[in-house]
């Protein structure tokens, strides 16, 4: 609990923004709205707990790192990324957003991402999230000098997969 309103509200504003980012990040990685909410909240809770001991130097990158690891753990446990790409309940009412999710464009993008290795997906999405290379290195736990090499390869694989899924 924050002691004073100003501290609390400033902090809360920051957390609300991170939460929105994390929801988008996990959803981009997995395509699973339920999982996005669960993992984003888990990551934020871990941050709040961690800050009781020692605040991370770069909380935003720290959160993405935790979220990335949570997604990896979940994928390992359930083989989610290969076997359960998009949850579909045939009996449930379809919202416009769900209908869109199932539309051709999104299905193609999902198919392209599914062709990539998990680390390629991570590095591509993180790069598009505006992280510097040293931050990406911290989040996915690789050497900073490796990021441009990994990113170049991931971009090339994405390009190949995209051309295969979305022929010109």
């Amino acid at each position: 609990m924050m002691e004073t309103l100003p501290m609390r509200s400033a902090r809360s504003a920051e957390i609300a923004q991170w939460q929105r980012e994390l929801l988008r990040y996990v959803h981009r990685l997995t395509g699973d709205p339920d999982l996005s909410e669960d993992l984003a909240q888990d990551a934020l809770l871990r941050l709040l707990k961690a800050e009781g001991d020692r605040a991370p130097d770069n909380p935003r990158a720290w959160l993405y790192r935790v979220a990335t690891n949570l997604v990896r753990d979940h994928a390992r446990r359930a083989a989610m990324m290969r076997d359960r790409p998009i949850p579909v309940d045939a009996d449930a009412p379809v919202t416009p957003a769900q209908a869109y999710e199932r539309s051709a464009t999104v299905a193609q993008v999902r198919a392209v991402l599914q062709r990539l290795a998990p680390r390629d997906r991570e590095i591509l999405i993180l790069s598009e999230s505006g992280f510097r290379h040293r931050e990406i290195a911290e989040i996915i736990d690789v050497k900073p000098q490796s990021v441009s090499v990994l990113l170049a390869r991931a971009l090339e694989r994405f390009r190949t997969a995209y051309l295969a899924e979305v022929p010109r």
Partner: protein
């Protein structure tokens, strides 16, 4: 001459090279058609990737975009709508940001333990009020009195006369149970938004704009000084807070209850469109 490695082109495109390396790489790329084409390919792939990811974002988890109300302020109408978030409410036991959930009725079977029930109700009268600096004069009783009594002195920021304060001309409201996103559009940079908490520490205010507003605070009051052309001010309220009224002066533009638009003022010069959830 040796061509530039792909990873170096990526580093160049990302601004990750130091000044010397950047100048050297750029110098080569500008004179080498193969490397120039390779750099264009990197940039093209990046643009494709960005577009593909944006397509996914448009289909973000359905519950985040279940209902949308758009209000376009007509000519001659009050320039700045007020947004009043009304009670009754229950105090959130945890920071409210952690309570943002999709509506319980539509929640998929949870993989987690059920949430614990809310603590005994602590009911408050009026909630919070979001108002532009120039609109403060039209706040309604008795909320205004309550605010006057409890709000702190004006925040110490550079003073802008109300008449000169840029104002947003329209708004875009996305109500989700437990959270309300309010996007103010067409306001010039420097527009000031005051949020009076009125003893509501569980109400959170944030911006998801690319250019965050400058937040300045005093006890019970927060001012967001906006930057950029499109302003995204997010107000997060406790899940127990179900009713949101959007007002311009005394005119009720819309009422959102439990995440659904239940009343709108489309016949009074405002265009409000809503997409009902669950269809």
């Amino acid at each position: 001459m040796t061509h530039t490695a792909k990873e170096r082109l990526v580093a160049l495109a990302d601004g990750e090279l130091d000044a010397v390396a950047e100048a050297r790489t750029l110098g080569h790329v500008q004179t080498c058609s193969a490397c120039s084409a390779a750099l264009a390919e990197v940039n093209g792939t990046r643009a494709t990737l960005a577009g593909a990811l944006r397509a996914l974002d448009a289909a973000e988890p359905p519950e985040w975009a279940t209902a949308t109300a758009t209000a376009t302020v007509a000519d001659g109408a009050p320039a700045l709508p007020l947004v009043e978030i009304d009670g009754p409410v229950q105090r959130a036991a945890e920071p409210a940001v952690l309570d943002i959930r999709r509506p319980q009725a539509r929640r998929a079977p949870s993989r987690r333990a059920p949430r614990r029930s809310a603590p005994p109700a602590l009911r408050w009268a009026a909630g919070i009020l979001l108002a532009g600096a120039a609109a403060a004069a039209v706040l309604r009783e008795p909320l205004l009195e309550a605010l006057r009594g409890e709000a702190a002195p004006p925040v110490q920021t550079e003073s802008v006369a109300p008449a000169q304060t840029p104002q947003p001309r329209g708004m875009f409201v996305t109500p989700v149970d437990g959270a309300v996103d309010i996007v103010l559009v067409d306001g010039a940079a420097g527009t000031r938004i005051d949020v009076a908490y009125h003893a509501r520490p569980d109400v959170l205010v944030a911006s998801t704009s690319a250019q965050s507003p400058l937040f300045t605070e005093a006890p019970g009051r927060l001012r967001a000084e906006l930057a950029g052309a499109r302003h995204d001010l997010r107000i997060v309220v406790p899940e127990a807070l179900r009713r949101v009224r959007i007002l311009a002066g005394d005119e009720e533009l819309a009422v959102i209850e439990a995440g659904r638009l239940t009343r709108s003022a489309a016949d009074r010069g405002y265009v409000i469109e809503a997409e009902a959830p669950g269809r």
